[in-house]
């Protein structure tokens, strides 16, 4: 009895997630090796960072208090961002319907399905700002480029979500409607739409919220909205105006997120 008790450890340790102490050691060694490698290749200029710290303080000091004096400029930019977001979401939603149908394996023929999936994968990879540069090159500076950028990326995102909803729907109603001799359009409206509508509306509201966020950045490459004003105020060292813009963006995005949560709860 007492001999068995002697082999118990005197201290308890929580079981490791790595399985064994050896693996844990290997993991942390790997992390350290990575840190050494990455920090050495980044050629970080330590002297400049240290010089930057007091400057950071100066900039922060100049950011406070935020200057809302040019509120008209701020308001114009914000309204433009909101308009870009709303219009892009609606256009994106319309465009996403054909994309969604084409990318649903149970509705579309195989070659069309593969082409649509490849289109979605490629489109999703690129950041909105990269897509914005291309639209700026094609349509010139201004909100049109922003509108088309966000409409394009919304169409791809919503199309992907729609395709997944269509693939997950119950096949029963589709077969039932088809059995009555309905055309493809009738089958879609009476069997598919009722099954995916609520979920799609939820995703749409979520996308409106994320478009609101994205519409604040695309201005940095000249695609309209508040980002253009923000980028200009940073390059002119107008830090108090910049902090006013940042606070307004934060407030608007927080409001958008609250609205999106509220609306999606109501839908359920």
């Amino acid at each position: 009895m007492t001999t068995a008790a002697a082999s118990y450890p005197s201290r308890w340790r929580a079981p490791s997630i790595f399985g064994s102490p050896g693996r844990r050691l290997a993991f942390w060694a790997l992390v350290c090796a990575y840190l050494v490698w990455s920090l050495s290749t980044l050629n970080v200029d330590t002297a400049r960072i240290l010089a930057g710290l007091p400057r950071a303080w100066t900039i922060l000091a100049r950011m406070v208090p935020p200057d809302f004096g040019r509120w008209e400029l701020l308001l114009t930019g914000m309204v433009e961002s909101v308009q870009i977001a709303i219009a892009a979401t609606i256009i994106g939603a319309v465009l996403s319907i054909p994309i969604g149908i084409a990318a649903a394996a149970n509705l579309s023929p195989r070659p069309l399905y593969l082409a649509a999936r490849a289109f979605i994968v490629t489109g999703r990879t690129f950041h909105e700002v990269i897509i914005a540069i291309f639209f700026v090159k094609l349509f010139g500076f201004g909100p049109v480029a922003g509108l088309l950028t966000l409409a394009f990326s919304s169409a791809i995102f919503l199309g992907k979500m729609l395709a997944e909803d269509i693939e997950n729907m119950k096949p029963g109603p589709v077969e039932a409607i088809r059995a009555t001799g309905a055309s493809f359009g009738q089958t879609f409206f009476y069997a598919v739409v009722p099954q995916v509508l609520v979920k799609t509306l939820g995703v749409l509201i979520y996308r409106l919220d994320s478009n609101l966020r994205h519409s604040t950045v695309i201005g940095i490459v000249g695609a309209g909205g508040i980002g253009q004003t923000l980028s200009a105020s940073f390059s002119r060292y107008d830090f108090d105006f910049a902090s006013a813009i940042l606070l307004t963006i934060a407030a608007m995005v927080a409001f958008g997120e609250w609205f999106s949560d509220w609306a999606r709860r109501r839908l359920r």
């Binding site: 929580a14 950041h127 049109v144 940095i220």
Partner: protein, 276 residues
Amino acid sequence: MTAHPLPQDRAPMRGYPDHWERYSLRERIVQWIWLGGIAIAAAWSVSALDIEWAFFADAHEQAADLIARMWPPRWSYLPRIVQPLIETLHIATLGTMIAIVFALPVAFLAARNTTYNQATWLLGRAMLVLSRSINTVIWGLVFVAIFGPGPVAGICAVAARSVGFIAKLVAEAIEEVDAGQIEAVESTGASTLQVYGVAILPQILPVLIGTSIYRWDINVRESSVLGFVGAGGIGLLLYASINQFAWSQAIVILIAILGIVIISEALSAYVRSRIV
């Protein structure tokens, strides 16, 4: 044959509609009001944007011209972009690592059951909102103003945006931990820190790791554009190539970005499927 009368042989019930409708009149009116509201919002948004429709007339020619200039890609440029691509991955990885360190205390503040009082909860929530509502690229602008251009600004930008993202999901996980384990550890006389480490941390660890890996994969995508505002990575070369109209060079960079983003997404999906 049975003699039961078929339903249509019976006299129709009074007040029973003779054809089927999915929605009642009231539901239809509400639907039309919604549609009308959306149409008005769309019309207001589009009309106020001052769209120059003339630009649309030759857009397809411009696009065709652009593609013609991009093809064939100048593959000899590839060796030049290897180093910036690695830098992009470093920005994403180091930024995520820093974010994990800061996200844990913020998450404990922002979770109802581990925060100390209303004031600390509000502080935690405010940090979440501020971090999440400002885009990585805008954080990049801020940090370039502070540290000057370079990857350090990029790492800080990625970290600043990711803290809120990771902390929000971890805070939700903390709010849903099993209270029994906390009570069990508390009853042994453990300190608050010991309760956090032994009773809560093991329960939220899968969420923390899964969220961090997911965020890392988003950050690879985000760090590809940080160079546009001077915060390091491949974006700097992409922006320079486009501004110099070096389209055959730009397409090489775009294909490279496509490659690393798809690889990181696949890697992230694989690792998360192993954990959860």
